[in-house]
C-alpha cells in the first residue's frame, strides 16, 4: 500500500497544494507541476462535456462511487480515475470545484474512504483556519501534520 502524492487544484485551475508522501514518482520542477495541474484542469473540463445525453445510465468510465452525495446527481462528473501500470490517479471534485488528486499504487484499496478523510482534514484545518485565504496556496502546519499522521498509519 503506497500513497505517492496529493495535489489540490483550485477551482481556477491553479495548483494550491502539492505533497509527496513516498518517493516513486519522477521528480518534476515546480513549474512543471503547475503546468500539470493546469492541463489536468482543462482536460477535466473537456471530459465533463463528453458525457452522454442526460437520461443516460451510469457513465461507464465513472465506476467509482461518488464521494459526496451531490444535489445534482445527474450532473456529469468528469474524469475520475486514471490508471497506468505504475500508478493510479483518483480525482475527487468538491461541490465548489476544488479538485483533489491522489496518486497511489494501482492495487491500493479503499481510496474512496481515504479521499473522504483527506477532504475532512481539508475542511477542518484549511477552511477553518482564519489565516488561510481561499484559492491561495495552502500553508497550514496542522493540515500537513494531519495528513502525515493519516497516511503513515495507512501505509
Amino acid at each position: 500500500m503506497v500513497v505517492f502524492a496529493l495535489f489540490i487544484i483550485s477551482k481556477a485551475g491553479g495548483l494550491i497544494y502539492n505533497r509527496e508522501f513516498h518517493s516513486g514518482l519522477s521528480k518534476l520542477t515546480s513549474n512543471d507541476y503547475l503546468m500539470l495541474a493546469g492541463s489536468f484542469h482543462g482536460m477535466h473540463a473537456i471530459t465533463k462535456q463528453l458525457c452522454p445525453a442526460m437520461p443516460a445510465p451510469v457513465n461507464p468510465s465513472s465506476t467509482a462511487a461518488v464521494l459526496a452525495p451531490s444535489p445534482f446527481s445527474g450532473r456529469p462528473s468528469g474524469l475520475e480515475v486514471l490508471e497506468s501500470t505504475h500508478f493510479r490517479m483518483q480525482c475527487f471534485q468538491t461541490l465548489t470545484g476544488t479538485k483533489f488528486l491522489l496518486f497511489t499504487e494501482p492495487q491500493q484499496p479503499n481510496i474512496d474512504s481515504m479521499m473522504r478523510k483527506i477532504y475532512e482534514l481539508y475542511a477542518d484545518f484549511v477552511m477553518k483556519n482564519p489565516f488561510y485565504t481561499v484559492e491561495m496556496p495552502i500553508r497550514c502546519e496542522k493540515f500537513d501534520r494531519g495528513l502525515d499522521g493519516f497516511v503513515k498509519v495507512r501505509s
Binding site: D124, F125, K128, N129, P130, F131, Y132, R139, C140, E141, K142, F143, D144, R145
Partner: protein, 218 residues
Amino acid sequence: MSGAQNQPTGLRYPSNKKTIYDRNLNRTKNAELSRAAFAYLFVEMISYAQQRVRGIADLEKRLNNQGYPLGLRLLDLLLSRSSNPLSSIRPTRILPLLQFIAQTLWRHLFGRPADALERSESDASQFMLYDNEPLVNQYISLPREMSQLNCAAFVAGIIEGVCDGAGFATEGVSAHSVAEQEGGASAGGGMWPGKTVFLIKFKQEVLEREEILGRGGG
C-alpha cells in the same frame, strides 16, 4: 407583537413573546454547540479584528476586548445557575476565584477543567493557568510571520472579564504558547504542540486586600 415588530428597535420578540429573559436559566445548562459553527464564527471574529490592525500586540488586544464582556456576563450566569445558594456567592479570595475559573468556567466553555494552575515563583501577584490544547486554537495554523500570535487571547479576555467582574482588578491577562521543545513540526511537536499558558497578573491592591482577609480569617 405586531407592534413590536413594526418598531425599528433593536429588540426582537419571538412569536410566542418569550424573550431570552423569560427562559429558565438552567435550560441551556447542558446544551452543546456545534464545534464547526464556532470555528467558522471565530474565523470571522479574527478577520474582523485583523482589519486596520497594527502589529500582533494590537490584534491580541482586540481579541482580548472581544472576550472581556463575555467574562463579565459568564460570571453572573454561572453563579446564579448553581443550585446550592452557598456556592452562588462571588469568590472573595484569589484561590477560590482561580478555582472557579479553572473548574466551573472551563467546564462550561470547553467541557473539561483546565489542565494546571500555578502561582509564579518570582512574582506573587502572577498566576499561570495552563491549557494543553485550547479549543479555540484547534483548527488554527499560524503563518510564519505571525508565530508570536496566540488566538487564545480571546479566552484571556474572558478570564479578565471574570476577574474584573468579581472585583479582582488585573494588570491584564495574556495568552502565550508554551515552547516545550525546539524540534518544531518535524519532530512531532512534543506531546502538546498547542499548549498555552494564561498569565494572570493581579493589581497590588488586590494582593493587599488578600493579605488583610487572610489575617482576619486566620
